[in-house]
Subunit: 394 residues, 2 copies
């Protein structure tokens, strides 16, 4: 048996997908009982030196009009052409597999609905955590759990930058330049640095954790690492922490919360030791307890590995269960101002009575203040000369 697929956008991940399918051809055929065959590659460019040169087309109709093609891999990126092509494919009953977090987090509600209506699948394991299995474990392995918390390092670029700042004692600007040089940051890394990429991934994770109640990226407060100084990093080790950009979802009280922010992470947490471009996602289920998923959050071949896992699932031809649909019910998470967090306040001198209303832990030159609403933070530290604050994660 043979399953024909198309790759839309033959960039890093698209080409990596073709490469993994080729590299592990036999394993995949044995496990699935079908050969996955890349019949068409849709791209504006030609790839005369690629072993797949003969499959390249510039004509979308050769993909969407081809009844043999059962699966399309969307590795175009962005939410414009990728959006149009994904709709086209799904409407034609072609399952779509993607690594495109922007598209999934922006138009997932609509795209999953189109997939369901047309008896095909829309799968996006590779959109979060690169190669790390996280979407499928959330759906399948934690099926018997209420997900009460997700805390993740989901952006490799910023984690690499923070690691370099710490290890080499360099400034943010220098670390960004280094990351670009080494291919770990794009020419314009704003979406990474400002936490937008993490916001999109958290939107997807939160929505799944809430059984499909859509958490739009716009409802997730995202603070990036653009303001982080070497001083902030040095301070982290003084209090037994590492400074990390954290994507946090919690569902323990009345209303769930979700935000992205730099945080001092206690070295007792496994997440603290995640360095460089690696990603790690801690998931807490009400039965399972804490579970950590760790691995390469980016890179052509690891991400392609996740894409290929989805291709294999799509090739099995299972129907998409109703429970995978997403629904937009308006603002699903608590307003950021009202969300309570743990923070670290540091200042040259902290008055003993400054946080008497709160549950606090006193450190050397700093205080951990627990369960304080974001809207109260500025007011609280206003009276303390030279005070700075940062999120804290135990």
């Amino acid at each position: 048996m043979r399953t024909d697929i198309a790759i839309l956008g033959f960039g890093v991940v698209g080409a990596g997908t073709a490469q993994v399918l080729e590299m592990n051809k036999e394993q995949i055929a044995q496990r699935t009982g079908t050969e996955i065959y890349v019949k068409r590659i849709l791209d504006l460019r030609d790839f005369p030196d690629s072993p797949f040169a003969d499959r390249v087309t510039h004509n979308a109709d050769e993909v969407f009009g081809d009844k043999d093609i059962k699966i399309a891999v969307e590795t175009i990126g962005g939410a414009k052409i990728a959006y149009e092509y994904t709709k086209k494919a799904l409407s034609a009953g072609i399952s779509v597999v993607t690594s495109n977090k922007e598209l999934v987090s922006t138009h997932g509600v609509e795209l999953l609905k189109i997939a369901k209506e047309n008896g095909c699948q829309y799968l996006f394991e590779a959109a979060v955590g690169g190669g790390i299995p996280i979407i499928r474990p959330l759906y399948r392995c934690l099926a018997a759990n209420k997900v009460v918390r997700i805390a993740g390092i989901v952006n490799g670029t910023t984690n690499y930058i923070l690691t370099q700042m710490k290890v080499n004692g360099i400034s943010l600007e220098e670390a960004v330049a280094q990351a670009k040089q080494n291919g770990y940051a794009e020419a314009n890394p704003a979406a990474d640095l400002e936490g937008i990429d993490a916001q999109r991934k958290l939107s997807i994770l939160s929505t799944i954790a809430l059984d499909g109640t859509y958490v739009a990226p716009s409802t997730i407060n995202a603070q990036g690492i653009t303001e982080i100084t070497t001083d902030d990093i040095e301070f982290a080790s003084k209090i037994g922490c590492e400074l990390k950009l954290i994507a946090l979802f919690e569902n323990k009280g009345d209303k769930p919360s979700a935000y992205v922010a730099p945080a001092y992470v206690s070295k007792e947490s496994l997440i603290a030791s995640v360095e460089g471009v690696f990603n790690a996602i801690m998931v807490e289920g009400n039965a399972l307890g804490e579970s950590l998923f760790y691995g390469q959050g980016a890179g052509a071949i690891p991400t392609a590995s996740a894409v290929c896992g989805d291709i294999i699932e799509a090739a099995a031809g299972d129907k998409m269960p109703d429970s995978r649909l997403w629904e937009d019910k308006g603002q699903a998470v608590e307003a950021y101002d009202d969300v309570k967090a743990s923070i670290v306040v540091r200042a040259p001198e902290i008055p003993v009575t400054a946080f008497s209303e709160y549950d606090t832990v006193h450190l050397d030159g700093a205080v951990i203040v627990n369960s304080i609403a974001h809207k109260d933070i500025e007011h609280l530290i206003a009276g303390i000369p030279g005070a700075k604050w940062m999120h804290y994660l135990k």
Copy 2:
């Protein structure tokens, strides 16, 4: 819709399963579109104080003869009654879900075949790593990978004991006594201490990594922690390592290898920081690279969480793919004597030329010897007075 199930053996995990199904009833019903109903509990005992008292039966026919029962949860343990009952259930077309590593690793080949022949499933996510999702990710998420390495801390009891020895500087005997007191070790903890439990789990992981080519527990050399001294533990920190009981599978050369042994694990590895009863399994795929799965490796509710995930999968009624069958082709892994490993050799004085044939790394008071066959180790260190060796994991 309602799916009737039976629980065979109402001990810690069996009762935990009923509890998780009850606790997360609504989530599960919403996600699966079916109510999971515990119709029968088969046990020799009565449980008058349990909310499930009315479902308890001592008569196996009330389970295996009941056409309504689609799934049986086997949480009896051992490979005697559990074996008989599992065969009975599967032969009657009842899917079986289990946490029983002894049974799966001993009779998996036969039981999976019976399941296949009778159109039902035999699922065992909970048999390895307790609540940690590992079996399903291996099957599904790494479907596009050749698994080249698995390195895991898969036995919580021994990890707890080693952690206590380190943290409190106590002897093995004291730590074992403490573990029993705290409920982390059974009255007779031999299977844990001697590495038998880890051997069974590694048998399951290795077989899956080899696409169903059965790796019998008897072909996996298992060395436990019974010989470990406080001195061994103290030495670990001197060379920047932690002493852990490791289950190792490798498939990089001509023939795969699998063994269980205590090892000095470099602190640079995430596995080194796994403490207490936690488990962690590092999986390396040829596309994915390294990925780590971490969480609670034991405990009633976490393990039950994994059991319930399998119940939900079985309830969906999917057919078992042929690729899930196991086949016994004889000895699937290299003989232990021939397997090459990295080891740490320590001695009061190590002659400079002692390991000149090998790739070595010299440490303070010890030498890492890479790629040495097990059969050559004793001979190699025979000439060095007071020499001891231990496996090494980077």
